[in-house]
Symmetry: C2
Subunit: 289 residues, 2 copies
Amino acid sequence: VRAMRQPVLVASTDGVGTKTRVAASLGRFGGLGRDIVNHCINDILVQGARPLFFLDYVAMSRLEPEAVAAVVAGAATACREAGCALLGGETAEMPGVYSAGELDIVGTIVGLVERDGVIDGRAVTEGCAVIGLASSGPHTNGFSLARKVLEGADLLAPFDGATLADRLLEPHRSYLPAVDALLTASLRPLALAHITGGGLVDNPPRVLPEGLGLRLREGSWPVPPLFRELVGRGSIDRLEAYRAFNMGLGMLAVVEPGSADRAVEVLRAAGEGAWVVGEVVAGSGVDFA
Amino acid sequence: VRAMRQPVLVASTDGVGTKTRVAASLGRFGGLGRDIVNHCINDILVQGARPLFFLDYVAMSRLEPEAVAAVVAGAATACREAGCALLGGETAEMPGVYSAGELDIVGTIVGLVERDGVIDGRAVTEGCAVIGLASSGPHTNGFSLARKVLEGADLLAPFDGATLADRLLEPHRSYLPAVDALLTASLRPLALAHITGGGLVDNPPRVLPEGLGLRLREGSWPVPPLFRELVGRGSIDRLEAYRAFNMGLGMLAVVEPGSADRAVEVLRAAGEGAWVVGEVVAGSGVDFA
């Protein structure tokens, strides 16, 4: 940790939801460790905080050592990539509480941000640009709906150059490198929204000042095949899809209108998928035009 | 938080184990919130750290709002009593992962300790005295065995001036006031052992230097009726009982031999149950004489 003037501690606890069920049904646990770490990293990143340390909790009815080892190894890798200490963790065996073969994974992250570097959305105004950052898949959200839609489907069937299972289980991305690239280019976002439960509908309003909303332009970013497939198979209503899934955007960044093109350029140079996907408008909530 | 010279952050994540099953079967959730907070407080207190903030995670198959509210209210009370911020939390609904009506509760605590105030057991030597601090019940350990022994029993039957349920579910005690009383009297413990999973057998050795063990004297502290009942009903082997349960001692403090009587006096004046229960001996592990 570099010397800081007025460090503020930021912390968050979360789980990965029923993505665990898909992973458990396929015996593929490694991605879940990355999922929980990167989910937590993004949760505090939206305030401008960098991860300091992380702790995990893994519980099952009967602990399966290979499953736990795979989760922890994935978490360790993701922590290392983020320069975050994996400070500790706990495993719990709770017969009768968990269904056979199922597991829950809980992560807690603690990070630091300079008091004057806190990102809080206060400076967002009408006309600001919204940049969408590519997700790697559903991340850790929408799995209840996805599992319903895919009930009975062969998850190992070829799909989009891989399998449905691969596309569903692709680990949650960390947007720490993306935000770092913006900061390095002196393009500090005015607001960041991590697209988790509630999707593109419920998450962005939480980081906007009263009286402001978002207009997102459909077609301004590529919706990955998995989401098209889920929406098609399940005949999912358009707004329901935007609420259940990230639809290809794992994080939104609000920037000054004049900085949008430069920000996209910087993000793409850093290897991120990034598009200007909309703007801040008077009103509330998110509408899709 | 008072100004500190060289603050060290300490953190811990843990759950309350299958105590949740007894609580859920009786619809009595409030104690679980106190359980997880106080368990976490004690987990970092053994390093000399004071709680700074706490986060909780509560998950069920289908969230029961009254259950979640009761847990969180209990956690809030325990945090307030400890001067610890309840920084946030998360609830998760995970059908298929959790059995119907069951829940898991995970807590994460972050605390601070002055670098030169870290309690690490390094100064413990042969002949040091061991003080036992009274538990309020099984705390959050031994519930798998307790539930097995009590299978089919009427938990609402009168027992020890209350009911078996009351004695089982009595919340985990925080030893922060006890340790505060010792510090205020300039009686800093050389080592502290929180008696959790592994009981009086497995926890104390973790905080002792290589080559040292404990001798605990049976009869030197009162074993509460609940433990006697469990041991009797289950014909539990003596060592198995010491490993599964705290047997009436929720924390052990190692002090200089000459300070033992004064420490007990200070603790009792602070309202704690406290006894000199043994001493540090050459060797390893814990033996019961």
